[in-house]
């Protein structure tokens, strides 16, 4: 179970590939569930040209570590990886990568969804958007993951 915070842009697919090659035992997993969250250039009807992601150093890592342990106790998963950006971000850059490896897809899907929804609702990150006219605003709340 690995969590990482990046203060620079990252390629989620390259990170996934490298982690899988170095940390996941071939032949043991039958399902890999992947979620990638990417910064949009719009929000609430406005064009967004940049964003800053603040977090609570120490609590963020502690929360995500506990979350991955909790998921591992709820589902039969082999490993999980959470990578989250902090600092200054531009549209089209990845914000978050959540990957779960399991023997079977049901556990991989459900654990991945759980990790992502818990991260969105409780991990101590805060987004501040810079709009096209350079005004800034805090994002006040996340949308739910419900359909």
């Amino acid at each position: 179970m690995t969590i990482a915070l990046y203060d620079r842009p990252f390629d989620p697919w390259a990170v996934l590939k490298q982690y899988q090659q170095t940390s996941i035992v071939a032949g043991k997993y039958g399902a890999t569930a992947v979620f990638v969250g990417t910064m949009r250039d719009f929000n609430e009807g406005d064009n967004v040209r940049a964003m800053t992601l603040e977090h609570y150093p120490g609590m963020t890592e502690k929360y995500l570590q506990n979350l991955t342990c909790e998921a591992a106790s709820k589902w039969d998963i082999l490993d999980s990886l959470i990578v989250h950006r902090v600092g200054d971000i531009k549209p089209d850059e990845a914000i978050v990568l959540v990957v779960v490896w399991s023997s079977h897809r049901a556990h991989a899907y459900e654990a991945n969804r759980y990790l992502m929804e818990q991260l969105k609702s409780s991990a101590p990150f805060w987004k501040k958007e810079t709009l096209q006219d350079n005004t800034q605003r805090w994002v006040e709340k996340n949308t739910t993951g419900d359909l």
Partner: protein
Amino acid sequence: MSIDVKFFASLREKTGKDSTRIEAASVNTVADVWQYCVSEAMPSNTLTAVNMEYVPVDHAVKDGDEVAFFPPVTGG
């Protein structure tokens, strides 16, 4: 009693405070810490943590604790 207090995101900007250490004998709960540090009422949607764990505002604090106040989270 010595307590480290942190404010994040919009609450840091509203209170004008980033982090501070208070020395106070009259502080018993997380809510008391807010009142000691900030003259305005705590916004109803404020989240609170002690030693990097979520707690309710009536959670008791003790010497050496780190108390944090922040708005609803928006990561992911």
